[in-house]
Amino acid sequence: MEKRINWKDYGSLFGLVGIGLAMGLLSDRFLSLGNLVNIARQVSINAIIAMGMTLVVITGGIDLSVGSLVALSGCAGILSMAATGSDGLGLAAGLAVGSGAGLVTGLFVAYCGIPPFIATLAMLTVARGGALVMTAGQPIVRFDSPYRWIGEGNLLGVPAPILIMALVLGLTYFLLRRTPLGSYIYATGGNEEAARLSGIKVARVKSFVYLLSGLYCGIGGMVLAARLGSAQPNTGEGFELDAIAAVVLGGTSLMGGKGKLWGTMVGVFIIGVLNNGFNLLNVSPFFQLIAKGCVIILAVLLDQALKR
């Protein structure tokens, strides 16, 4: 319709391309097809989690519990596989545990008025504790089993985690842009009172986004376990920071009401490209942390400068 392309909206995309080209100049291996596919596979779990995070952040909330939920659902899933002998039931259990934990957080946020920061911080420690309790602190190995396809397999040469990421992206995009619920998510974050007075059940909307974030952690947790061939109760620490960083790099406002999925995907890839490129260049992992933080600040400054 009357949509003009506003290049100022694409600051983060230019940033990604710029970083990519710089890495390409510094390392001849970086721009090879094999490496690019590798990057996409490496970022897939963060991408899935960050998409749920984007929805939560658009409602004006935040989900700090994602890393712990990845561990909790992964452990619950693999343990269920061992207990039932069925990979399918185990996968379902992993997703159910992630969704259930997310729903609990969401109910506290939506119906008890607990600030999202607090509610999800509490879930962060509860879920981590739960994962440690159910595994007695030990990794649960499940090596030769068909479920590992979702982490290791590929279809026509495309690694399964990338396919799953694409599927989640497609479904989330449909939900956000093509259903009333998607509009309610934006409206709740944009002006909760106006949304409520328009007949939107904002408490349900809020509960739902935390449930979905939990479900996506469940998916991420199962993919990660499949990739490693084991569920680790200590996995996923710091995932929330990468997910939030990706959301912010993608231009989603932490105040709520604004945000785009593709922006988050660009943010996910900025982080992935930095990690991958630094590794190819043999940059010390300690220094990488510093560089990542600086890039985040620079990217947001650039974004603000462009929008002014």
């Binding site: 319709m1 009357e2 949509k3 449909f174 093509r178 259903t179 009333p180 509009s183 309610y184 934006y186 409206a187 944009g190 002006n191 009172e193 106006a194 949304a195 409520r196 007075l197 328009s198 007949g199 939107i200 059940k201 009401g257 604004k258």
Partner: protein, 508 residues
């Protein structure tokens, strides 16, 4: 009507004003908040400032406090022109504002709060001299005849005590002009008495006080003069003694019915909404019939908005038992009320009516999105068609339906809020101050839509502080005061003075 610009003695016999405002203008996008206001304060007087919400009182206070700058006009202090560039500049001129929301630091004690930002005056400026600070605070509180202990932490104080601390703070800054915004609103009757004693003490010390309030009795008890604002203009200033409440109310809400109201009258249909025991009181039940516009008159705080919000299920856990189309109902949430067929254009379009960052299309269709969903996705074409229809029907001026409502003028924003409910085809539409802060043309279009609705057999419940508008556009009018419905009048022919007397409690 020509209002006499000021009451009391003529200019020759008056002392020089402590503060004067001349031709103050302040515009916000789409609204002229202050339109050439002349206003003066005499030294040592208590000056009441009244007007309905949106009349411009808070804009005026904000200009004096330096929170915002006027677009035009002049402020003079002691006859000298000054520019109030910011809060600091305002303080240096000896002006202090006491807002309804206190600006105290809860974790600090009374003395620290009184001297916040002035530490160097009661000590070295590097290390707090708490003993001296407390002694000086004691002195300030004594001036106010207040026996509050300066060592108490503010978080543990009552509302009235916090207000004392705010006033003491103004005094410690040697403020000569203290502006109080609805100071009595959070206080009990007993505390209001204490506040008045404090005001009299300040006045005796030569301090000028501006007292903003909606409560007529208080204004008549404490003020020396009263200024009335309406629609960004100063209607007039009167000496309180010798002025009647009804006259002030008339200045606030009344106006000669000179404008053209295109009211169409038609025979009412069956009752659609009935409310008994409004606000928990026995009294006149509220009835709204099809093809009828029912007006709710009253001052701010009379309970009109509360009544409307409860009928719409907007206040959680405060249900109103209503009779809807003859059967009992109890809307527990706006979603339920909307499901029944009720829509509401709320009082504050920006805070309650619109998601400002969203486009016109998205805002208009927000209440009907569930109907626009097809299995494969949203019916975008339908959404655009509905938004486009409403833009044409209401004459909304916008470059496109994709425009963020943030960028529309006030009148057009209000039309978008209305469009939401027209798109939903509600059977009863509640309009809370639908024409506040919008231009004459947009008002007229609002009235036309009301006619259109009643022609379709729909009902309208309208709250308005613009009495001529309410009288002209309503078929019947209920007057509210203190959360009760006190009287019912026919619209159109009703006499302004009668209704105003009822609103103002005079003769009750």
């Amino acid at each position: 009507m020509s209002e006499c610009p000021s009451g009391g003695p003529g200019p020759e016999s008056r002392p020089a004003p402590a503060l004067e405002m001349r031709g103050i203008v302040k515009a916000y996008p789409g609204v002229l908040a202050l339109d050439g206001v002349d206003f003066d304060l005499l030294p040592g007087e208590v000056h009441g400032l009244v007007g309905e919400n949106g009349a411009g009182k808070s804009t005026l206070l904000k200009i004096l406090s330096g929170a915002i700058q006027a677009d035009g006009g002049q402020v003079l202090v002691d006859g000298r022109p000054v520019s109030i560039a910011g809060p600091r500049g305002s303080q240096e001129l000896g002006i202090a504002v006491i807002y309804q929301e206190f600006s105290l630091v809860p974790q600090l004690d009374v003395a620290q709060n009184i001297f916040l930002g002035l530490e160097s005056r009661v000590g070295s400026g590097l290390v707090l001299d708490r003993g001296r600070m407390r002694r000086e605070a004691r002195g300030v509180l004594d001036q106010l005849r207040c026996d509050l202990d300066p060592r108490r932490v503010v978080a543990g104080l009552s509302v009235a005590e916090k207000q004392f601390v705010e006033i003491a703070r103004a005094l410690a800054r040697r403020s000569r002009i203290v502006l109080m915004d609805e100071p009595s609103a959070p206080l009990s009757d007993k505390d209001v008495g204490a506040l008045f004693d404090t005001i009299r003490t300040l006045k005796a010390g030569g301090v000028t006080i501006v007292y903003v309030s909606h409560r007529m009795e208080e204004l008549f008890e404490i003020t020396d003069r009263l200024s009335v604002l309406r629609d960004g203009r100063l209607v007039g200033t009167r000496a309180t003694a010798g002025t009647g409440m009804a006259e002030v109310v008339r200045m606030m809400v009344g106006r000669e019915i000179s404008e053209h109201y295109p009211k169409e009258r038609r025979p009412p249909g069956e009752a659609i909404l009935e409310l008994a025991n409004v606000g928990g009181f026995e009294g006149i039940p509220l009835v709204v019939r099809r093809s009828e516009v029912v007006g709710l008159a009253g001052l701010v705080g009379a309970g009109r908005t509360e009544l409307a919000r409860r009928a719409f299920g907007a206040d959680p856990r405060r249900f109103e038992r209503v009779t809807w189309k003859g059967s009992p109902a109890r809307p527990g949430s706006p979603a339920e009320a909307i499901g029944m067929g009720i829509g509401m254009v709320p009082e504050d379009r920006k805070e309650q009516g619109l998601v400002l960052g969203m486009s016109l299309r998205e805002n208009v269709t927000l209440p009907i999105l569930d109907r626009l969903f097809r299995g494969y996705g949203m019916d975008r074409a339908g959404q655009r068609r509905i938004a486009g229809e409403q833009v044409r029907r209401l004459g909304i001026q916008t470059p496109s339906i994709e425009q963020a409502v943030l960028r529309l003028s006030g009148g057009n924003q209000q039309k978008v809020v209305l469009a939401k409910w027209l798109a939903r085809e509600c059977e009863l539409l509640i309009l809370d101050e639908p024409t506040r802060g919008i231009d004459v043309g947009a008002k007229l279009e609002m009235y036309t839509i009301m006619n259109e609705l009643t022609r379709q057999g729909k009902a309208v419940l309208m709250i308005s502080s613009d009495l001529p508008e309410l009288i002209a556009m309503s078929d019947r009018i209920y007057v509210m005061r203190d959360q009760r419905i006190l009287a019912e009048y026919p619209g159109g022919s009703a006499d302004q003075e009668t209704i105003m007397t009822c609103i103002a409690r005079e003769g009750a």
